[in-house]
């Protein structure tokens, strides 16, 4: 048994001028797993993927794909990868069929076989009716599926998916998830980036959380969620002046520090959803009025708050903890 991983990267660094988009990230993806890279826009996810896919040079650090050095041997690396970008990278001037045929030909598939593979993939991705339509008439979901199909022509052992479902409607998103699971069942290894915790949760065996070019956490989805509690109680107080008193109530009842944001809002991490009742009762006893209450699964925002101490959206808005 060899122990060469599908992806092995150490201390990856990529700078654009003074800005370090990726700042010393280590990555270890085992064969046959779905590895999720989770982070907000601008965290450096796409940059990292592009470095591993030979689309951007590696400024510092090293990366290996199935033991092949990415920097020294880009041609071999490219033969091991299928890359599906954030924006569909298919040719607008060609039909779906022509696109797949072209990408097959460019990778040395004989013409007849390229045609068969194209037909086969279009069938598998539910695009056979649109096979001869120009891409300009395709919906976002269809483009994404065609893009993924184009990555699979030579059945590469490793697939990179850069935000595969961003901008898709929920139904199409579910289909995409099924497709990704099928890939792994077929023996592929998948490295995907996403902004959605639930996507990483649904798909990934392991997740790395990336923020401002750093890896801030890594673990299984359950491990990550456990770090922020299993659910979150979101409260809005009738009077923002009560916030300090309400925070005391929460601290006394749960031993947990609530996250307070402007205009009377308060978030409390709960290890079990039914503990929300204790907080609500406690607040009523203290005479604190509430205008809205909800209990939700933790969102990426909350994971971020806990892991990094700041919001996903604006880095300069440091939230008091």
């Amino acid at each position: 048994m060899t122990h060469i991983p599908a992806v092995h990267a150490e201390g990856l660094v990529k700078s654009f001028g003074d800005f370090r988009a990726v700042d010393g990230v280590d990555l270890h993806v085992a064969q046959g797993e779905i590895f999720g890279v989770l982070g907000p826009n601008g965290a450096g996810k796409t940059t990292m993927l592009k470095m591993l896919a030979t689309l951007l040079s590696i400024d510092m650090g090293r990366a290996e794909i199935f033991g092949v050095d990415v920097r020294r041997d880009p041609h071999r690396t490219r033969q091991l990868l299928g890359v599906t970008g954030q924006y569909a990278s298919v040719d607008e001037n060609l039909t779906a069929n022509e696109n797949l045929w072209l990408f097959g030909r460019l990778q040395g598939v004989p013409s007849k076989k390229a045609r068969d593979t194209a037909a086969d993939l279009l069938g598998r991705f539910g695009l056979e009716e649109a096979a001869n339509k120009p891409i300009s008439q395709f919906s976002g979901g269809m483009r994404r599926r065609l893009d993924l199909a184009a990555s699979l022509i030579t059945r590469p052992p490793l697939i990179f998916l850069d935000e595969p479902t961003t901008g898709l409607d929920p139904r199409t998103r579910g289909q995409m998830w099924d497709t990704i699971r099928d890939l792994v069942a077929d023996g592929c290894t998948v490295l995907l980036t996403t902004q959605y915790l639930d996507e990483a949760d649904q798909l990934a065996d392991r997740i790395a959380v990336i923020d401002r070019g750093y890896k801030v956490a890594e673990g299984t989805p359950d491990e990550l969620k456990a770090s922020v509690g299993n659910s979150t109680l979101q409260l809005r107080l009738a009077d923002a002046a009560d916030l300090i008193m309400a925070a005391d109530v929460v601290r006394r009842l749960l031993g947990e520090e609530p996250v307070i944001s402007g205009s009377g809002r308060m978030n409390v991490a709960l290890d079990a959803a039914d503990r929300a009742a204790e907080v609500l009762i406690g607040l009523r006893e203290a005479g604190i009025g509430i205008t809205s209450v909800s209990v939700d699964a933790p969102t990426l925002d909350e994971v971020f708050l806990v892991l990094t101490g700041h919001d996903t959206a604006e880095p300069e808005l440091e939230v008091a903890r």
Binding site: T2, N93, E98, D201
Partner: protein, 284 residues
């Protein structure tokens, strides 16, 4: 949580799983020449599809030769050679070279436009030869140069041009123009890989093209020019091509000028093809 995720360490081995060493061993270190050629032809096929779906790409090689031939012949014919008919043998080969240059300028602009598109990310991520995305469209462009030269001659015939070189001479002149256009297109392809936007490619290419075409012997005999300008015109590669084309079409002879023109073309390719590939790689 209903979903139970398996940790990777004890992940069930998926079917058809090979060891990483086996997977890496199936790769090849580089593209063979045959692979490079087949990739280039696939990219040429893509370019012809694109042309057919955007027929406006043919404007510069259809309208310009017709317009320039008529315009320059009637405008300058009387003044230059006494009559339009007498001027045609001088100006037709000149316009031929001019049109070929304009056509290859579009090669650089279109490459730049193309490179902005998402599909180029895929081309870059594929294990294909780096010259294929550049050479492919240029092979498709041979068609454009052929159309441009054929139309220029056709316009000349309609206006009374009867080249002494006969059918073979004219065909040889067309072939030389196509070769010249193809070679010079590498220079504009290089500009295409360097410039920041399609507009800047257009601008830089114009700056190169106008002096090259007009400060040549394309429209006027060199002996009418002041000494300093004649000196430039004589070393301008476009002049070599124009003279060689005239020799082929008007005399039906393969003269030394033809040899020099072909040599100039080869030099342009040898310089700019490697530079273009370097420029393209730099985008990675």
């Amino acid at each position: 949580m209903t979903m139970q995720l398996t940790p990777p360490a004890i992940a069930v081995a998926p079917p058809r799983r090979l060891s990483a060493g086996d997977i890496a061993a199936r790769t090849t270190p580089r593209n063979s020449l045959a692979e490079t050629l087949s990739q280039t032809m696939a990219m040429a096929w893509r370019a012809t599809k694109k042309m057919r779906r955007n027929p406006e790409q043919f404007f510069d090689v259809t309208i310009q030769p017709l317009l320039f031939t008529a315009m320059f012949a009637y405008l300058l014919g009387g003044g230059m050679s006494g009559s339009v008919e007498a001027y045609l043998p001088l100006v037709i080969p000149g316009i031929l070279a001019q049109t070929a240059l304009t056509a290859c300028m579009a090669t650089g602009v279109q490459l730049r436009e193309d490179m902005e598109k998402g599909v180029f990310d895929r081309f870059k991520s594929l294990p294909m030869a780096r010259i294929a995305p550049l050479a492919g469209p240029m092979i498709a462009d041979l068609l454009r140069y052929a159309i441009a030269s054929a139309l220029t001659f056709a316009a000349g015939f309609a206006m009374g041009y009867r080249p002494e070189g006969g059918v073979l001479g004219v065909l040889a002149a067309i072939v030389l123009t196509v070769i010249a256009g193809w070679s010079l297109a590498w220079a504009f392809t290089w500009v295409g890989t360097l410039a920041r936007s399609a507009q800047s490619v257009q601008g830089i290419s114009m700056m190169i093209m106008f002096p090259l075409t007009f400060m040549s012997n394309a429209l006027v005999p060199v002996d009418t020019l002041p000494g300093w300008l004649a000196a430039f015109v004589k070393v301008n590669p476009v002049s070599y091509i124009v003279t060689a084309t005239r020799d082929l079409a008007n005399l039906g002879q393969i003269t030394a000028h033809v040899g020099w023109a072909l040599l100039a073309c080869a030099a342009v390719i040898l310089i700019f093809a490697p530079l273009s590939v370097l420029g393209y790689r730099r985008h990675l």
